[in-house]
């Protein structure tokens, strides 16, 4: 079961830091962590990644772990270097005012609904 990144953008009312990048990507799950070493080790390819970290290393981690997109939570804005790198690498960079708990909760409901579980 997969959803498109566009569906997630709509559902969570995300802002696109790089408008149009990767909206047609399919997303298979989500991972929440602010430790990049943990994300490198445990996120699954196709996940969207919810984090507070805005450092440019998040782009490299997203590319390496083959993540579908990065969602910066609680109003965090990407550093200029991060934005530039994400643009160069074609990594979708989304932002929300929602704290990670609520963003993850909404995503969880969305995935369950798509699976017909609720």
């Amino acid at each position: 079961m997969k959803v498109s990144l566009q569906q997630i953008i709509n559902e969570l009312e995300l802002s696109e830091a790089l408008p149009g990048v990767g909206k047609d990507r399919t997303v298979s799950g989500a991972y929440c962590s602010d430790l990049l070493s943990d994300v490198m080790a445990h996120a699954q390819p196709g996940d969207v990644w919810l984090t507070l970290q805005t450092h440019q290393n998040i782009v490299a981690v997203a590319v390496m772990a083959e993540l579908a997109a990065i969602i910066l939570t609680r109003g965090m804005r990407p550093d200029p270097d991060t934005l530039e790198k994400a643009s160069r690498e074609g990594v979708p960079l989304l932002t929300t005012q929602l704290p990670a708990f609520e963003a993850a909760g909404r995503l969880y409901c969305m995935f369950r609904r798509e699976r017909g579980e609720c």
Binding site: L36, A60, V61, D79, D81
Partner: protein, 252 residues
């Protein structure tokens, strides 16, 4: 003439709330000296308020002191920041204080923050909360320290918590740091193998002592003409015959 300087450039005084009360400037210098430390840096969390006291205590014992502080960046990464002069670390401290949240320390949660004067007398406690992140990013911190002709050594990079590799995954090549610290029980060769981004930096190892008995025989030895930050910088870059070597782990 080049000489060997066994070094411990990461020691906390009783100013760090997590350090033991026994870490007075006088006692920690005495312990360092007895363990053969010739080059010492006291690097308290986000403050250099005890550096002058440590320098005074060390002066009487022929131990050279590098003024320093352990900064916490907004990514919760700990960075050792080392400077050539006391005035410079104090100027950096002012910038750090402006970048810290204006909150008071809660001693029952974090511990007391003891302050000492240059005569080694206890003069009170620092009120502001030191165990917090500043608003500096890792990049901003490195730029600020370099602008003050200082050196940044990311702390205990092999550990998962409060470390550059733990929190940011790998060493950003653009950062251009000369060296990283591995924790006192880590094997530099093993750490280098585990983290490929460390390939081109020197690795050093200091005690990160929070108690007196954690200051032990230095594993890191600098080959320098004199015990100054400029010379340390040369050693970390391997220039003019200056070098740094790290002993492997003692066999248990």
């Amino acid at each position: 003439m080049l000489r060997e300087f066994p070094a411990d450039l990461h020691v906390h005084s009783a100013l760090s709330p997590c350090a033991a009360d026994e870490m007075t400037p006088e006692a920690l210098v005495r312990r360092a000296r007895s363990q053969g430390v010739a080059l010492l840096a006291v690097t308290d969390h986000n403050s250099a308020a005890n550096v002058a006291a440590v320098m005074a205590a060390a002066h009487a014992r022929q131990v050279a002191v590098v003024p320093g502080v352990e900064l916490q960046t907004r990514e919760d990464v700990h960075l050792l920041c080392l400077f050539g002069e006391l005035e410079t670390v104090l100027d950096w401290q002012d910038a750090i204080y402006r970048a810290l949240p204006a909150r008071k320390n809660r001693e029952e949660l974090f511990g007391p923050q003891w302050l000492y004067d240059v005569a080694g007398r206890l003069i009170g406690k620092l009120d502001r909360l030191l165990l917090a992140a500043t608003s500096f990013s890792v990049e901003q911190a490195v730029a600020e320290v370099r602008a003050r002709e200082g050196v940044v050594i990311p702390s205990h990079v092999d550990r998962p918590a409060y470390s550059l590799l733990g929190h940011l995954g790998f060493l950003p090549p653009e950062l251009g740091v000369e060296a990283c610290e591995v924790s006192r029980r880590a094997d530099p060769a093993e750490v280098r193998q585990r983290f490929p981004s460390l390939k081109h930096v020197e690795l050093v190892s200091f005690s990160d002592a929070h108690r007196l008995d954690e200051i032990d025989r230095p594993r890191t030895v600098f080959l320098l003409e004199q015990p100054s930050l400029a010379e340390i910088k040369k050693a970390l870059e391997g220039r003019d015959g200056r070098r740094v070597t790290v002993r492997g782990l003692p066999v248990n």
